[in-house]
Symmetry: C2
Subunit: 218 residues, 2 copies
């Protein structure tokens, strides 16, 4: 049996934190200094107790009757998410999705800095896409090692995904962001986050199906 890695914070909480940041960033633009748990939970249709627990993970302490400092809460959430430092990343697979990710401006807000892209298709190699050079995939482990790359993004097809993950492991990449529909096998010290579109689509269509057959409860 393989080891199942456990983390001290629950994943559903991690998944809610970026949404809190969206609300808080808006409040900051509106010059709001303080915010309550109830306000955030109302904005996001969440249970206030849940929001309070999630925010407690970041170590923030609210003031009675005033709430949380908006700026401090933003800083604490960013620190918890690891978005307070810049992490260098490489991307493998410059198809439609890979190209879209290279052009996604918001990644800089999250500390993600894609420094190089890789592909095995000679027609793609040598191009510069959104300012990022596309190199031959076999050069990846060395570059990753040399530039101390933290994160590897996989946007190749299902069949090539494991091979690409193996090269990332060779390059001592610590975290793999996997968009390929494939369960990757990696050593215990490498973290894989699966970002397959099918997962999120499945949640949407499951809920649609359930709501077609069930009644609401509050």
């Amino acid at each position: 049996m393989r080891k199942i890695r456990k983390f001290s914070a629950p994943e559903p909480s991690m998944r809610r934190l970026p949404a809190y940041l969206h609300v808080l960033t808006r409040l900051l633009r509106e010059n709001r200094l303080y915010v309550s748990c109830t306000f955030i939970s109302n904005e996001l249709y969440l249970d206030p107790t849940q929001v309070r627990k999630d925010l407690a993970l970041t170590g923030i302490v609210g003031k009675p009757r005033v709430g949380y400092s908006v700026q401090e809460l933003i800083d604490k959430i960013k620190a918890f998410l690891g978005w307070d430092v810049q992490r260098d990343a490489i991307l493998v697979g410059v198809g439609n999705l890979g190209t879209a990710l290279l052009g996604y401006q918001r990644f800089r807000l999250y500390g993600l800095n894609i420094v190089a892209a890789f592909d095995k298709d000679p027609r793609r190699i040598g191009k510069t896409i959104f300012g990022v050079d596309v190199l031959p995939v076999e050069k990846m482990p060395n570059l990753a090692l040399r530039k101390k790359i933290d994160i590897g993004i996989i946007t190749v097809g299902e069949d090539a995904a494991q091979e690409v993950a193996d090269l990332m492991v060779q390059g001592f990449i610590k975290g793999i962001w996997n968009f390929a529909p494939k369960a990757l096998i990696v050593p215990d010290n490498v973290i894989v986050e699966n970002a397959q579109l099918s997962v999120s689509l499945g949640v949407l269509t499951s809920k649609m199906k359930l709501s077609e057959t069930e009644k609401d409860t509050v």
Copy 2:
């Protein structure tokens, strides 16, 4: 306080089901007829008890000492996810990400059929991208209504997202797949699934941060 919609199945289970499908589809190609819970859990680094509970949601019954029929399990999971029927969808926002989604071939495997795309940029309107016509966004509600569109995909920026969601509600769209970094406000009968890249990236970087400071537990 807003109503919080509850569903009879837990969302983390919904999120795992597509990964089971990936494993099962491979087994089917290898002509395997039966599979055990333990096999699936080993493949995906999951707890077998959790896998058994997830699969029970689909209504499947395993055979003692033989396990589940691979084909039957695929069919039951697809039915649970609502992927056994075709759902027509429209997409609004034909930027990099929108274009990538229009070109994503695998959606057909999940029953998702994007029939039209919309934008407000005159330079994009009138184009055909991966066989899908790009129309002016103001035509969307009528087309959605007329063609009984189930799903609306939002790939516009943060500032336009709520306006687009409002148009989708006008067009009686039942499910919104939202890629914009914005918490949408919609009526209770409309289901929103947020597929922001930031959520999945946040899980990866949180875990990397935690693993830099914590010890493993099994």
